[in-house]
């Protein structure tokens, strides 16, 4: 099936922060993302509760994992 899987802006907030990584929850309780600090671009020191934005598409299944 042809789907429009273009990237679009997604908003969320930081719900957990360590010296290594941040955990982000997407608004609407639409999932979570944990990324190392170096993948976070920030103009100030990040804190829990800070808003974040990224662009992503829907996720497509590529194999059955076997």
């Amino acid at each position: 099936m042809e789907i429009n899987a273009d990237v679009r802006p997604i908003k969320g907030k930081i719900i957990e922060l360590t010296e290594r990584d941040v955990k982000i929850e997407f608004y609407g309780r639409m999932g979570m993302l944990r990324i190392p600090l170096r993948m976070l671009i920030c103009d100030k020191r990040p804190e829990v509760g800070d808003d974040v934005e990224l662009e992503m598409s829907y996720v497509k299944l590529k194999s059955d994992g076997r």
Partner: protein, 586 residues
């Protein structure tokens, strides 16, 4: 969007495409034309197709349009009044990005040095103080071979600043036993050391030591946190005097926390060791190395704080220290090889600096600078604690284990402690007789942009004060460190110093910022898909990458044109450039 007369001049050999609806009778000016820099984007999105008979910007400026054309129409001869001067064909970015061959150029550099760079023929490169040979500066290209003769006689002697003697002792076998010893090529490590070493840091809860022989790589490994050479000072401090080093055996440090989470959870490379390591890379074990695996379990949850990974490195270092004490006492006559490293001031040749950006975001994004023992931990200062400010090391200090890497992520692009110990770019530039390597600057990459620019500006000021004629900036990994990487290049470039950038970018790590000084870039990718391959050391700087970087810097310093890179990563550019270097060597 129209362009300025400056841009038009810069792109005078590029295709002429109108930016907006343009009426019949218009005398074409830069304001009517589209910026060639965005053509690749427009072509990708199907908005623009450039025909073969397109005219160049240089050909159309001042000419009268004889029909009304739509926005983004390439201008062809049938649209223009009068004859078109036959100039060079427009150069559509071809994507080979290589320095032109057969170029002879000269430039009067800083410090009254006349630089003559001749690539034609044997690639002779002469650097002479102006004061010695002002007469030859008149027509440098005329008789290169004769000049070479004259100049060699006048050459000023190099000045050796310091010498480092490295005695290598071959290891044939590694065993666990009752006492640590090294006799007849057999290294024995005290079994109970695994327990004693834990005293070095209470956060380290458990240690296991085992030996992986080269013929048995089919074993599971937890994430490899580091690859560490075993070396010790016998005389002098790091960078000078005498060092003993074991060859044929290296330490690999692996780690999990008490709840079983890999210490390097991000970019972990756990798996079968034979498949998860790119053997032979500067930072990796070699194919025939015996691996002394030190597996550390740290307190649950501390892997995400600085103190956790640091504890693992500290206890691992305690094990190595006991081996070092034995290695220190070895009779020099038993050494298999003796290598002499010299920090040399190559008088009259272009001053070159290598800038290595290291990670400083915290946790394992940290490095211990100048420990007491080569590649050790104790006595060194973590760059995070130093505020990530640039620190200068001599080439010998780097080659003598002046950097202990806590190694960041991911596995394919991180530089392990052994990488710095065998850093191919430092070795290549230090040994190159055409340049004068003045030092290696290590600058940390902090987390927050403001801090990044703070350290980057200090780097610019430092490089300015060093009075160099050229610089190579390298970084490991990818992510927000590319922001300061770009800024370092800008800080150096805007001071009029030729600068080359070296990084893994390819597909997954593509650069997120750029500036006009980033026109000479070397790609470290070796993965066919341009991805972080999760194979240790896969995309790190090798000897071949170093050769491309140095060749590009020499070309840039000599004023040779470096063609623009294609818009997207293209591995064939790397291969072509590498071939140029292979041919130049013949």
């Amino acid at each position: 969007m129209s362009i300025t007369p400056e841009t038009a001049n810069q792109h005078k050999n590029d295709p002429a495409v109108v930016c907006c609806l343009t009426q019949e009778g218009t005398i074409i000016s830069p304001a009517d034309l589209e910026d060639p820099a965005i053509f690749p984007d427009l072509e990708d999105s199907g908005l623009l197709t450039i025909p073969d008979n397109v005219l160049t910007i240089g050909q159309v400026l001042g000419k009268k349009l004889i029909k009304t054309i739509d926005a983004l129409t390439p201008i062809t001869p049938d649209m223009i009044e009068g004859e078109i001067e036959e100039e060079t064909k427009p150069e559509v970015i071809s994507g080979n990005g290589v320095a032109e061959e057969e170029t002879v150029s000269n430039a009067i550099g800083k410090g009254n040095v006349i630089r003559i760079h001749i690539e034609e023929g044997k690639g002779i490169n002469l650097e002479i103080p102006a004061i010695v040979a002002t007469a030859t500066a008149v027509e440098p290209a005329a008789k290169p071979s004769e000049e070479k003769h004259e100049l060699e006689e006048e050459r000023i002697e190099d000045r050796v600043k310091r010498t480092l003697l490295m005695r290598e002792f071959d290891v044939k076998e590694v065993r666990l036993g009752d006492e640590t010893s090294f006799e007849n090529g057999i290294l024995t490590i005290r079994r109970t050391l695994a327990e004693d070493a834990l005293k070095a840091d209470p956060l380290a809860k458990k240690m296991e030591i085992d030996i992986i022989t080269p013929d048995n790589k089919n074993v599971f490994t937890n994430t490899i946190m580091d690859v560490i050479p075993i070396a010790t000072k016998v005389e002098g401090s790091i960078g000078e005097g005498i060092t003993h080093v074991l060859s044929g055996a290296v330490v690999i440090l692996t780690g999990v926390d008490e709840s079983g989470i890999q210490v390097h959870e991000f970019g972990s490379c756990e798996g079968i060791i034979g498949e998860k390591v790119r053997f032979g890379r500067p930072g990796c074990p070699d194919e025939n190395d015996i691996m002394i695996r030190i597996h550390v379990t740290i307190q649950a949850g501390t892997g995400m704080e600085r103190k956790g990974p640091y504890a693992a490195h500290k206890v691992c270092d305690a094990v190595i220290q006991e081996i070092r004490e034995v290695l220190k006492k070895k009779d020099p006559s038993e050494a298999a090889r003796v290598i002499e490293y010299k920090d040399v001031e190559r008088v009259g040749r272009p001053r070159v600096v290598i800038v290595k950006e290291i990670m400083g975001q915290g946790a394992m994004h940290d490095n211990v600078i100048l420990p007491k023992e080569p590649a050790g931990v104790l006595g060194g200062r973590p760059n995070v604690d130093l505020g990530n400010i640039p620190v200068v090391l001599s080439p010998n200090e780097v080659r003598d284990g002046g950097i202990h890497a806590l190694t960041c992520i991911g596995p394919a692009s991180k530089e392990n402690t052994r990488h710095y110990f065998r850093e191919p770019l430092v070795n290549l530039v230090a040994d190159d007789e055409e340049v004068n390597l003045v030092g290696v600057v290590f600058v940390g990459s902090p987390q927050v942009n403001e801090e990044k620019f703070y350290v980057s500006e200090r780097l610019g000021a430092l490089i300015e004060a060093m009075g160099v004629d050229g610089a190579i900036v390298t970084t490991e990994g990818f992510g927000n460190n590319h922001i300061d990487f770009a800024s370092h290049i800008e800080q150096i470039g805007k001071r009029g110093i030729p600068v080359v950038g070296v990084t893994y970018a390819a597909y997954q790590g593509q650069l997120i910022v750029g500036n006009k000084y980033m026109d000479a870039m070397v790609e470290l990718n070796k993965d066919p898909n341009g991805m972080e391959s999760e194979i240790l050391g896969d995309n790190t700087l090798t000897r071949e990458d170093a050769e491309r970087a140095l060749a590009m810097l020499k070309a840039k310093m000599a004023g040779v044109e470096i063609k623009p890179a294609p818009k997207k990563w293209d591995q064939s550019v790397i291969e072509k450039n590498q071939e140029l270097i292979r041919n130049a060597k013949k």
